[in-house]
Symmetry: D2
Subunit: 347 residues, 4 copies
């Protein structure tokens, strides 16, 4: 690590991932925030949008146009799907590495993207360059990447709940059910009936049944690990909490299994992954809130002969902002845990 | 219906089902509450335990010993598992009909009970007499019953999510996953770490993985409907809300299916069931809160060739107290909806 | 009471008070809902906007233009401030009585209104006709009214917390502080940053400091009771709950006081008011949720020589919809509690 | 600051302040946690009690008896009131400095303590030695202290909301009302009806009306600042959130005032206090959650001629654990912000 701090841009300041990136990067010892952009709030102090930063990060927001005029090491794109791709195309020769937190480069190809996102892709060449930024699986490729597609929140939790089984090709195809539950911040900062307090509080419901976009992202990654195509049933639900994803994954296996063997498979797979914690009891989302941890808890049900694997993350951190910082650490050869050692905030 | 009101006893006043029974019965036009018992609060006004009843139901709590001295039509047992059975045994010749809200007589036999509840059963003869009180399935048998075993909350939602498929013997054995989520009142009124606000609020977790007692209750009833044994994977989770259960059930079928046919199967099965609402969009738990409704929403996923069937209930009502009142209405030949026409309280 | 049911219109269906009115009126034994209007949803079933009514109230929404063509006994205006006044003007000769749930006719005059609402008033003559619809204070005048201004939610709780002291002219002028806390439904159904889940959940803040419109409504009514002008300090806060207002009122008195005397003053004032409950311990908002009760708890602090009077209501019911129904009962000479006997929904 | 880390003990590990102390001290660059004690959990890993620490702080809990055998620089007492005093007495000659988070040494004398806590004090000599640990007021005395009485959560927020006015002797005696609202963690980790989820969630109520112990702590400190006795009306309420205190303080002044002058008085008083943020809009508790900030917002109401001053803190941090760490920094001549630069966790 040089004494020169990394100069970073955060593009897209109004959302939750933008403010979480700022929070993490502000206290990161090797980073200096050069610019934060927001087209609709140019000139306003960042802390006007996010009052928790009052007195700590009051720099004025700028237009994204300014980014190309600056000397930057890394650009974080905290933009909606369908918007990121244009900036990636525009800034591909700037010299700065790009970490894209949208879904624009997470899938394998233009065709798959356009089918699942129902949107034209404007920079298909990016698919070949982009590396899927899940450090537990692709640390080496990430280290060499110039463009990282930061994973979706549900895919992060879902993939980590099942990866050890797919890696050993143990999963019976067609048997996987991923029943996922997310806090409301996953629905974004925009005010609409979905995010209205009275529709969320004391409520719980499923959405995107049989068609959520994260399905294909999970299938491509799990299939890639196993070396063969896979189809999963993925159902997301909306929890009346701010943060957290809990995924309950079910699978039949091709071979015999018992609890001890199952635990061993997971322990081995995650042995050098400092942010995956193999738990000895069912984890709650609050056990990881405010942290970069993914807690995993696999159970073998002898009676039904199935695996039930539960994983939890903070959707804004391991599911977005801290994962992006983890990727940055890898891309710039910093110790991977730098700036990420938050103990979960509980209660 | 005679002009004579039914004289009822509520045995066990301190819990949530006790107070919900009181709330429903107090406004039921054909009922007069004769006695409410609580061994630990004898002499105290009922409203001391449940201040929402202040000025409306201040009668002093009595000992259960008083019940046998009274002229009663029906006794509601709102007692813990393992306690109810003794009262059923003791009061079997009183003349009053008994509706037991505990799990003591829900299963098929002493042996099954003792395996899953890890407890000696003191009145095994009750199993042959007890009728499983799910009105949508057993209205006629309930009408003739002297002892009704009021169903568990999870089983009510789970069974109603899948019954139409089991009734037509469409379900592929071994394929059923029931991923269930319940509000905290399901954990009871007792103060312990599980019910401490800070462990529930902003949290979400699974419990009873691979071994919850309600599993066997669901399996026995669904198997009974189909006429053959069935095994299901049942996983409950704890929601940070007061009330509500949402069940997401998954099944493979033995035959071809499409959405239209699936909807038709459900519509037909529930056509004369006033409290099951076949919804045209994914229901939330708040859509039924404070009411006796069970909302059901079945989806056929053409891509995965699976059924995803979602159902929601208020766990304290359709999952306990209002179900008990529904059973009472059937047992005494009252119109089945009497006293149960609450519109859900939303927001 | 005649056997002819009252024919009612609900004008403004999309908000919370509209749906709560529908819920109460649907189960009111002497009412038939003739029409529900919503300009932006004409033709849609009411239950599309409020799915809790699915299968129970699916009638299509109509335009307010239809109201004048119908034979109606009473019109409920569940409209925003500034909109109601035009309909009151337009329908003044229809023959139907009008209960306006907005703030348009709650104050004493056009001038006061225009100062506090910063809006031109289009029908100032209405001020002289309108009766302030707080049944505990003005039951007789309400019975004779053709136009009732249904009180604000904060004023209802605030006035009832202090009325007995003002009625006896005991309050030292300038000493009254009303620190009020309301659930989020008070902020309305509209999606905006204020009602976004993430801004409300786990949060709490004051708003409208030193200038909230309800201040003058409280001052005019309390002053009216005492027969002299009064100024109060009123500060509202936003609670992370759906329903409920709790008001903590502080006052110095002109005379000596003790707890016994204070309790007696309140008991006497509210002795024939069935929906005000003088509690013997500090009430919580959940003790009245879903009901028409206002629970009041006055304390004399001997050490500081001040009164602390706490009151709680359900802001959508006693603070809006059930108060309107109570007023309707009085206006049509029905027993005042008709259709209002809900026990609070707790937990 | 030497390179030698401070060796610290946390006495009392099971509560929320114990775990928050551990979280802060674990990431404090100049601290090494030598021992954590819990009499009821000796031998268990700390992370068994607080699973958020899994893999990060798994050291076994020890008995407090071990403390006196160790070489320690500072001992944090995270114990209940009435228990701390015995340990302070016992360990007074150990050489380690003591920071007591209980209420045992916050007041001026044995007599005052015994009147308000209704408990015998076993170590009255401690009152003369103890320094009240509010860094904004007493930084210099804290730096020299051997025993610090860490302030109560309500007093911290209350005192900081009014200190600038008392310091200038502007407050009209007898006029101060402090209406305070706290998250549930203020009620402690113990499971009882008060902390049961169903009594807190969607609820809100006052408690300790006219007699809460923090009243005298506030009065003694504010009186001390002004140099004369003061009496305040203090009413705490319980919020359905985990963390956060918001205090709404009201005062009449002896002199003329306007908004500009008021803001200036506060700005001047807090100019060198890095953790008090004088806000330009009403703060919410979430603006400071997870941080050491106290946000203050004073308003002059020209109409009523009163000050309304709002302050917010995280009750577990600025109201307990981070305040204790701040005190430690001062006592050991570390830069006062060391280990305390957390940006609030929002949303």
């Amino acid at each position: 690590m040089s004494h020169q701090k990394l100069k970073v841009a955060i593009v897209g300041a109004s959302g939750f991932t933008g403010s979480e990136l700022a929070r993490l990067l502000l206290n990161h010892p090797d980073v200096s925030i050069s610019i934060i952009t927001s087209e609709s709030h140019v000139g306003k102090p960042f802390s006007d949008l996010h009052p928790q930063f009052f007195n700590r990060l009051d720099i004025p927001l700028e237009s994204a146009d300014q980014v190309s005029k600056m000397d930057l090491d890394v650009i974080f794109l905290a933009l909606p799907h369908g918007v990121s791709m244009d900036f990636v195309a525009k800034w591909k020769d700037l010299g700065a590495k790009i970490i894209d937190l949208s879904g624009d480069f997470r899938l394998s190809s233009k065709d798959v993207y356009e089918e699942w996102y129902q949107k034209k892709h404007s920079y298909p060449i990016g698919f070949s360059e982009a590396v899927y930024g899940l450090p537990e699986l692709f640390a080496k490729k990430i280290a060499d990447a110039r463009l990282v597609a930061n994973p979706g929140c549900y895919p992060t939790a879902s993939i980590l709940s099942l990866a050890p089984l797919y890696a050993k090709q143990l999963v019976e195809e067609g048997s996987v059910i991923i029943d996922a539950k997310s806090g409301l911040t996953g629905a974004g900062v925009k005010a609409n009936p979905t995010t209205h307090f009275s529709n969320v509080n004391e409520n719980f419901k499923a959405y995107g049944i049989a068609g959520h976009r994260h399905t294909i992202e999970i299938e491509e990654q799990l299939g890639g690990i196993a070396g063969s195509n896979t189809t999963v049933q993925f159902t997301p639900h909306l929890l009346p909490v701010d943060r957290g994803i809990l995924v309950t994954s079910y699978a039949k296996l091709k071979t015999e299994m018992n609890q001890e063997k199952l635990t061993e498979i997971y322990a081995e797979y995650y042995q050098d992954k400092p942010f995956v914690r193999l738990r000895n009891q069912a984890p709650g989302i609050k056990d990881v809130r405010g942290s970069h941890f993914c807690d995993v808890f696999p159970t073998w049900d002898e009676r039904t002969q199935k695996v039930i694997s539960i994983s939890v993350i903070d959707n804004l951190l391991k599911g977005a902002a801290s994962q992006a910082v983890h990727n940055m650490n890898l891309m710039f050869d910093l110790p991977e845990a730098t700036g990420l050692n938050h103990i979960p905030l509980k209660p």
